[in-house]
């Protein structure tokens, strides 16, 4: 009785993992299939859109944030891709992020509250 109960629990655990994995797979497929090339880069700071660039431009610009302008993230747009070249944030997660170009893709810098996202504009 005790043993069969244990097997049942392990079976339920496996079902749980299968559900989680299939939900993520479905999410991933929806994400991949609905992804289109974007043509615009929008930079939001603290949830508000601050700058907007065309993805076909070739630019290198510093995004300055912080109360006294002490935070810098260098945004580069080149070959229809955008990425962060360097940043003063402690974790450098935004710098490590791969270049983005598809509609809806984002680079987030949590410490500086910056969201850089690709959008589609006509």
């Amino acid at each position: 009785m005790l043993k069969s109960n244990k097997i049942k629990k392990v079976r339920n655990d496996i079902i749980l993992v299968a559900i989680i994995l299939s939900l993520s797979l479905i999410g991933f497929l929806i994400f991949k299939l609905t992804m289109k090339d974007g043509n615009h880069i929008s930079v939001s700071i603290n949830g508000k859109e601050k700058y907007s660039y065309s993805l076909s431009d070739s630019i290198e610009t510093d995004i300055i944030t912080g109360e006294n302008g002490e935070n810098t993230n260098t945004l580069v747009i080149k070959d229809c891709k955008a990425y962060i070249k360097s940043a003063t944030c402690p974790d450098k997660i935004c710098v490590g992020h791969r270049p983005i170009s598809k509609d809806g893709e984002t680079i987030v810098c949590l410490p500086h509250k910056i969201v850089i996202s690709v959008t589609e504009e006509k």
Partner: protein
């Protein structure tokens, strides 16, 4: 009275262990820098152990001591909010799944890991006002489940050995 002191000491001991776990994890480099937030969540070993050893009350009390100490020592208001949201969601789902009696410690811990990440994603979406961050959940669900498996195994070991030591 004697029992009360005993329990107090045990909970204090586990609080210390949880804080050390959180600290170790904070000084480790990120596992995969492309997606922030991937971590094993070592401190959850303590939550899982206390959840099974005592009840959700003790597990929550110790977790809050840990979260607040870590936020004061190494974090700020932001990290405090992320930690609390992650913990609250994960402890709710863990208590529910444990009550059903359908899952093992590992299953409960897996759900906890996934919901912890869900809580943090929700806070990130609110703070940054960007729903696109939700896409990270696809990756974080899988990594949360993997972390949950590891933490579940570790929690089982902790329970077994702490019983042997009669703590």
């Amino acid at each position: 009275m004697k029992l009360k002191t005993r329990k107090l000491s045990i909970l204090a001991l586990f609080s210390a262990v949880a804080i050390v776990f959180s600290y170790i994890e904070a000084i480790l480099p990120p596992i995969w820098s492309a997606v922030p937030g991937i971590k094993v969540g070592l401190a959850n070993i303590v939550t899982i152990t206390l959840l099974y050893k005592f009840s959700f009350k003790e597990a929550t009390a110790v977790a809050f001591i840990r979260i607040i100490s870590i936020a004061f020592l190494f974090g700020n208001m932001m990290t405090l909010m992320y930690s609390i949201a992650g913990f609250v969601l994960s402890v709710i789902i863990m208590v529910i799944l444990k009550r059903t009696g359908l899952f093992s410690t590992i299953g409960v811990s897996i759900a906890g890991g996934v919901f912890h990440n869900l809580g943090q994603i929700i806070v990130a979406m609110i703070v940054l006002q960007t729903k696109e961050i939700g896409y990270y959940m696809i990756v974080l669900a899988v990594t949360g489940a993997i972390a949950g498996i590891l933490i579940g195994i570790a929690g089982n070991l902790m329970l077994k050995h702490s019983n042997k030591l009669s703590i």
